[in-house]
């Protein structure tokens, strides 16, 4: 069963029912999250162009999310099936977004409702 990678971590220990996170990992994760928060704010002050700025912000957010999931949420030490669940949920959400975007070209709210109707019937 590929449930646990705990053996690689000298400081972490399993306490019988579940893995216990070490203080070092907790504080380290927390520090990294705080630093990344500062970086993400600073990154918006620099103009890389709207899409690149967005990409940077999202990449940082993704890194932060991964840190939270792996260490705060113990997924790194946890059962493989829980990872499958998270990834499955994200895939379903991605699917939802992707298919909905496929249809986004149809949205036309630029229509000036009243004006257009007048033009149309003139």
């Amino acid at each position: 069963m590929a449930d646990s990678h705990a053996s690689a971590h000298h400081d972490d220990h399993d306490h019988g029912i579940a893995h216990t996170a070490s203080v070092k990992v907790l504080l380290g994760t927390w520090g990294a999250l705080m630093v990344l928060t500062v970086i993400t704010v600073l990154a918006t002050k620099v103009d890389f162009g709207p899409s690149l700025n967005l990409a940077i912000a999202m990449a940082i957010a993704a890194v932060k999310a991964t840190l939270v999931i792996l260490f705060f949420m113990h997924l790194f030490y946890d059962k493989l099936f829980h990872t499958v669940l998270v990834i499955g949920g994200l895939c379903a959400a991605a699917l939802f977004v992707g298919f909905a975007l496929m249809d986004s070209g149809q949205y036309q709210d630029s229509i000036r409702w009243d004006l257009d109707r007048a033009v149309q019937t003139k």
């Binding site: 149809q106 949205y107 036309q108 709210d109 229509i111 409702w113 009243d114 109707r117 007048a118 149309q120 019937t121 003139k122």
Partner: protein, 369 residues
Amino acid sequence: MKNRLLSVLALVISVAVLAGPASAQTPAAEPPAAAEPAAEPKTPNVLWLEEIEAQPWNTGGNFWLPTPAAEEADPSDFMFYAVLGLSIFFFTGVTIATVYFVIKYRARPGHKAQPSPSHNDTLEITWTVIPTIICVFLFLGGWRGYLAFTAERGGALQIDVTGQKWAWSFTYPNGTVDNNLHVPVGQPVRLRMTSTDVLHSFYVPNFRVKQDLVPRRYTYLQFTPTRPGVYRLYCTEYCGKDHSMMKVRVIVHETGGYERYLATVEERSATLPPVELGKQLYEKKGCAACHSIDGSPRVGPSWKGIWGESAKMADGSTATVDAQYIKTAIEEPNAQKRAEFAGGQMTSYAGLLSEKEIAGLIAYIESLK
């Protein structure tokens, strides 16, 4: 007892099979056009509105499908009959196998389940792969037909369609507005459609075309009528109380008829006395859905005797029904609503009616006092 039950079941199944798809097989096999009833109405030569209203629509067709009347019907019908044949084949197969097994292996004294394999990979893979292949072909066929609908066609006659609760309005390139759709035979038609309130859907069964009308969007629909006649046009997206009344006619004119129709309408509306024009608009524009002319209240006030009345408004003020009031009520219906009809919602007709038409409606309401 079990035998009796069995025979009942078998009977039911066979009746279902015969009454259902099987009996349809005969007409399905015939070419669709051959199943026309003799009484199919001819295209009107004289295009007076009243006569068109009186024309019965084409109710022909075969057991399964109404008379095809546009190019779009061909790919659609082809796929329909193809899948129908396929369905009948599979359905018959499954049913016969089921009934046969049930009879043959029914429990009876001395009968036991015989050893048989619990699975058979070759067989199972076969009946996975065959449906897969069939599905691929069905998809491709359906997609090709759909592409034919959506591909842009040159030289199309563009008609603007507006749907609202619960009436259609068709605006022709020369500005004529009508509540029935008139199109010439043989020419591609492109509809630019939108709705002023909720979703509606444009559907002409004989053309096999359908498209939703979405508020604040334009949707487009194309078809090329191939057979002159009068057909029904339905709203098929549920839109409220009179959804089922949002039903008008499509008139496919013979060559030249469409132009004559437009000319006639123009001429008539130029010479029509305002009261007559108003009366016609009342019937054509869906006013009748909410306003009666006999004094009975519907969603909105009846027009009978309303002229000159001074009525209490929803905001507490009092207003007299005069020309100005009616004009406002048509263009900004919810600006000043009468207290007793405060719950009713009317959509604005601003831009949908010309000044002359509004004057006609005013004259008509005045004539009803």
